[in-house]
Symmetry: C2
Subunit: 217 residues, 2 copies
């Protein structure tokens, strides 16, 4: 690994680590507003999975000889700003936020990971939301949406707002920090990833997930 590759990796992992730690905190605080104790436990379980991912990424940073706290600092402001701008108004919006944002971050990390080394790809595989939890989340959303046209339209709108904010934040980050661009242009395959293509890829995957809920993205 060249020193430059190592630097890029540390930046990417710093971002992932802070995103996971924040997701853990937000999700577990939101859990308290769940309509049933069963839902509280489910959201808690999801939050705990995020924390486990944070620890996985921290271990990887330690292997790279990097300090996890130092690596996270550059991303604190923008991740916090994202969460402040997308504060769920109730438990349904929390659930949708978990559904939309976890999956989208996973997609983004998967794309960025392609361009770097295989240990990173393995790491990224390990920090995806486990399918059984993702399935549980989707199942619960379907249940609450079923036959509730008002909630469906509110959550469809909320989903669009979440994705809009996430893409805006990603764009800002891309401008401010060189590593996203560098990772994308270091793709080993012939064609480097272009920002527009990445955006289209993420949006498509999001639309598919919204459709799976019976909503229009």
């Amino acid at each position: 690994m060249t020193p430059e590759q190592r630097r890029l990796l540390i930046e990417l992992c710093g971002m992932m680590a802070y995103a996971e730690l924040s997701a853990f905190e937000r999700m577990s605080s939101d859990a308290r507003f769940s309509p049933t104790l069963h839902d509280r436990a489910t959201l808690g379980r999801l939050a705990v999975a995020e924390f486990a991912h944070f620890e996985t990424v921290s271990d990887y940073l330690a292997q790279l000889g990097a300090d996890v706290e130092v690596a996270m600092v550059p991303f604190q402001a923008s991740v916090d700003a994202f969460h402040d701008r997308t504060r769920p108004a109730d438990w349904y919006e929390s659930l949708m936020k978990a559904y939309v944002i976890d999956a989208m971050s996973g997609d983004l990390f998967a794309v960025l990971g392609q361009s770097v080394d295989s240990a990173l790809q393995d790491l990224i595989g390990r920090v995806q939301v486990p399918p059984e939890l993702a399935g549980l989340l989707q199942g619960r959303l379907r249940e609450v949406l079923a036959g509730d046209a008002r909630l469906s339209s509110r959550l469809a709108l909320w989903g669009r707002r979440l994705v809009g904010e996430a893409l805006t934040q990603g764009q800002r980050l891309g401008r401010e920090r060189s590593f996203l661009g560098a990772l994308m242009s270091s793709a080993p395959e012939a064609e480097p990833l272009e920002p527009d293509k990445l955006r289209a890829h993420l949006t498509r995957a999001h639309s598919r997930r919204m459709n799976e809920l019976g909503l229009t993205a």
Copy 2:
């Protein structure tokens, strides 16, 4: 196990489960206000340990053929009231709350567990805060208190308030729910546990822990 013993066990476990689930949610929300990213991760780790305990107790309830949500419901109001009355004003108070209340609940469960069966004693052993985490918490508190007379006096006062509220809440619960008294009087040893003795036992253990921080209880 007699049906009456089983009923008592389910009540005790329902209380433990809800206490753990709430502690998880409160602690992980409080983590966000930590002064450093390192502290956020530490408080997060403690919160995750609480969630693991919640799952351990849930499994035990399932083995007893009881539904964890149903078992928790009777304790929701009083545990929530306790947390509402002891809302930490800042991160230092959160840390102290975790230190005081986790240990005290552990002490209480250990005493109540003596009176029932050995499987329960084993369970109670498994839901104690792991010594390395308790040590970490104590270490961090010592650090922040060292040489800060103002914070020390504020947190000493806060510690007294926490214990006062916890004991009051315990007393109320004892009046409202028969199981605490029943558990205490079913102690296998010659002498049933008396409320006054239990209170003295819990207070003593609390004072010792405060002294370990260099504070007066």
